[in-house]
């Protein structure tokens, strides 16, 4: 038999299913939201205008989620996308509004600035050996500060039609223009991941940085590339946001970072590197947009949104960790651990903390005096 593969080998179901989990899991959750909304609020959720709104919201996150997939797959993380988006959009806005630049020059300038900010992130991380988390978090502060310095509290508004088209335009067929742009970046990202050196090395670096180094891959160089991609995509999102609002100010986009990371992680890209799924990230973006839209449709207070996002991140990461754990023999479920000596100690410790809080509240309540209004 002239083949290098054992023809008799049949992988078990779980192993065959695993590559598709990244799509199946978010799709299942999307289906669950659809089903839930069909019962809870069908008339408002299922309107065409609402579905378009979901797509428009999701579109904003698609380029960033695509780029973040590369960064996270390399075991990195970029916590500066929000301020990169705002800073590059504000610089573009100044050039167009105050210096009379053409919007056709302004847009590429914004994308280039985003790429440059990403380059700075990448260099800080690879040259100064600052861990990704700290490096991008610190640069986030820097970029946010620069954006505030530039714009003060100013709102720059009313931009040429091209920009509003990018942000909230409508194609003749149902799908909004930003969604078209977002989906195109996703498709491009998919091919880059599957078909280019950068994509291949991204997975290799995340899978094993040492192996990548040994096979002669420029690990640091490709890390920098990923951050540059992330910066450019953040700038694109900044442009889409500016177009969508037809205005930009330095305090926009506060929830970008966590939202993008949530979408990528929900989509099955591993935070521990090496496992990438662009389709998963796409599903993740859709899922989060639908979830937030559902919260609005159900008239749940806005401030529950970060609570919901955080909950989705924790549960999906836990779910993937559970799937990944190969041998569950004898683990006996999540609560079996509580019966061990270690588990008992932790239980007593938790009980003590809660007890202290209850006691303090009780003391405060008993000795409470008259209230004085803050204002």
């Amino acid at each position: 038999m002239n083949t290098a593969v054992d023809p008799n080998y049949k992988p078990p179901l779980s192993e065959r299913l695993e590559p598709y989990m990244a799509v199946i899991a978010p799709m299942a959750m999307i289906a669950a939201i659809f089903a839930f909304m069909a019962v809870a609020s069908p008339d408002r959720f299922y309107r065409i205008s609402n579905l378009e709104l979901i797509l428009q919201d999701a579109a904003l996150y698609m380029p960033m989620a695509m780029a973040m997939t590369f960064v996270i797959t390399q075991r990195g993380i970029d916590l500066s996308v929000g301020s990169v988006a705002v800073l590059s959009a504000i610089i573009m806005a100044f050039l167009v509004k105050q210096f009379g630049f053409s919007i056709y020059v302004g847009i590429p300038i914004a994308l280039t600035i985003g790429a440059l900010l990403g380059l700075v992130n990448g260099l800080v991380i690879t040259r100064f050996n600052v861990p990704d988390l700290i490096g991008t978090l610190a640069m986030d502060l820097v970029y946010k500060g620069l954006a505030l310095l530039l714009a003060k509290g100013l709102v720059l508004a009313r931009f040429p039609d091209v920009l509003t088209e990018i942000g909230r335009g409508q194609t003749p067929f149902f799908i909004p223009t930003p969604a078209v742009i977002g989906i195109l970046t996703m498709v491009a990202g998919y091919y880059v991941l599957q078909r280019t050196h950068f994509g291949r090395y991204t997975v290799a670096i995340g899978s094993s940085p040492e192996s990548a180094e040994l096979t002669g891959i420029g690990v640091k160089r490709h890390k920098v590339y990923a951050y540059v991609l992330c910066g450019a995509c953040a700038a694109l999102a900044g442009l889409m946001l500016t177009g969508k609002q037809n205005a930009i100010q330095a305090t926009m986009a506060p929830f970008f970072n966590l939202h993008v990371i949530a979408a990528v992680v929900v989509g099955g890209t591993s935070l521990f590197g090496g496992r990438a799924s662009i389709i998963g990230s796409f599903s993740g973006v859709l899922l989060l947009a639908m979830m937030l839209n559902a919260l609005v449709t159900l008239r749940i207070e806005f401030f529950w949104q970060p609570v919901a996002s955080g909950f989705v991140i924790i549960s999906s990461v836990a779910l993937y960790a559970w799937i990944q754990k190969k041998d569950r023999d004898g683990a006996g479920g999540w609560f079996a651990d509580l019966k061990t000596a270690e588990g008992q100690k932790l239980m007593r410790f938790s009980a003590l903390l809660i007890g202290v809080l209850i006691a303090l509240l009780a003391i405060g309540g008993v000795f409470a005096g008259d209230t004085a209004p803050s204002g």
């Binding site: 992988p11 040492e210 002669g216």
Partner: protein, 253 residues
């Protein structure tokens, strides 16, 4: 055995700051032979092969390939010249499939509409060919990530990566039989013999003297950064080599 060694290291000294890892070491390997390097931990085996494969640059000393002086500024230089290594860790990216791993850092490409992209199909068929024809190894799947393969199969992928290079003349194998079961060890040793039969110079680093005496033609013994002797396996025993490794003769004198 030819008269000129295929690869020869002369007077290699390597210092890391004040630490001398290698002191005036000579090593030669011939085409179609298996040379084993043995020695205790810290004897300088790994440093020696890292100098040979271009990972480290020697502080002093020269390397000759086919009688010509060569200098390597990195591993890629050495690989281009025909010297490659299979590390104990195998240097595989476990999330990638065997074909992606085999061509890692050296991908086959094709041009579509003026854009250079990876030729995944060709890499896959080439992987299949090399595994079958040169190594005679059968994997359980070419699509599964490499971490789902057995230790021996993973090693085969790493070896396939080295032997795919047509110009490969010297293959260094670092502890290929460490942490392997008896059956897998036998398979690995068989593989080493077939590589030798294909005309490669195989340099084997091993702690297992049984394995060394099973496949190697000559044994280079390192001790405290120096070469304390080279013996033919046909004319010596594991006891002799063990004595050289621990320096029994020296201490007795």
């Amino acid at each position: 055995m030819a008269d000129t060694p295929l690869v020869q290291m002369r007077g290699i000294t390597k210092r890391f700051g004040g630490v001398t890892a290698l002191q005036d070491v000579d090593l030669s390997a011939y085409a179609g032979e298996v040379l084993a390097i043995v020695g205790d931990n810290g004897a300088g085996k790994s440093t020696l092969i890292k100098v040979l494969t271009g990972v480290y640059q020697p502080t002093e000393g020269e390397i000759f390939l086919d009688g010509e002086l060569v200098t390597f500024s990195n591993h890629a230089d050495a690989a281009r010249a025909g010297i490659d290594a299979v590390y104990q860790t195998l240097a595989l990216a476990d999330h990638l499939d065997p074909a992606a791993n085999m061509f890692l850092g050296n991908e086959l490409t094709k041009t579509v509409l003026g854009i250079t992209i990876l030729d995944n199909k060709k890499m896959r068929s080439e992987t299949e060919r090399v595994l079958m024809e040169r190594l005679g190894v059968r994997l359980k799947s070419l699509d599964a990530p490499t971490d789902s393969l057995s230790g021996g199969q993973r090693q085969a992928v790493a070896i396939a990566r080295a032997v795919y290079h047509e110009g490969l003349r010297v293959l260094v194998m670092d502890e290929p039989t460490a942490a392997r079961g008896p059956q897998e060890t036998a398979r690995t040793l068989k593989l080493i013999k077939s590589l030798k039969a294909q005309g490669l110079a195989v340099i084997l680093i091993s702690h297992s003297l049984d394995d060394v005496f099973e496949v190697a033609d000559r044994v280079h013994v390192q001790r405290r950064g120096q070469c304390v002797g080279v013996v033919l396996t046909a004319e010596s025993s594991t006891q002799d080599v063990l004595g050289m490794i621990v320096g029994a003769k020296e201490d007795a004198a």
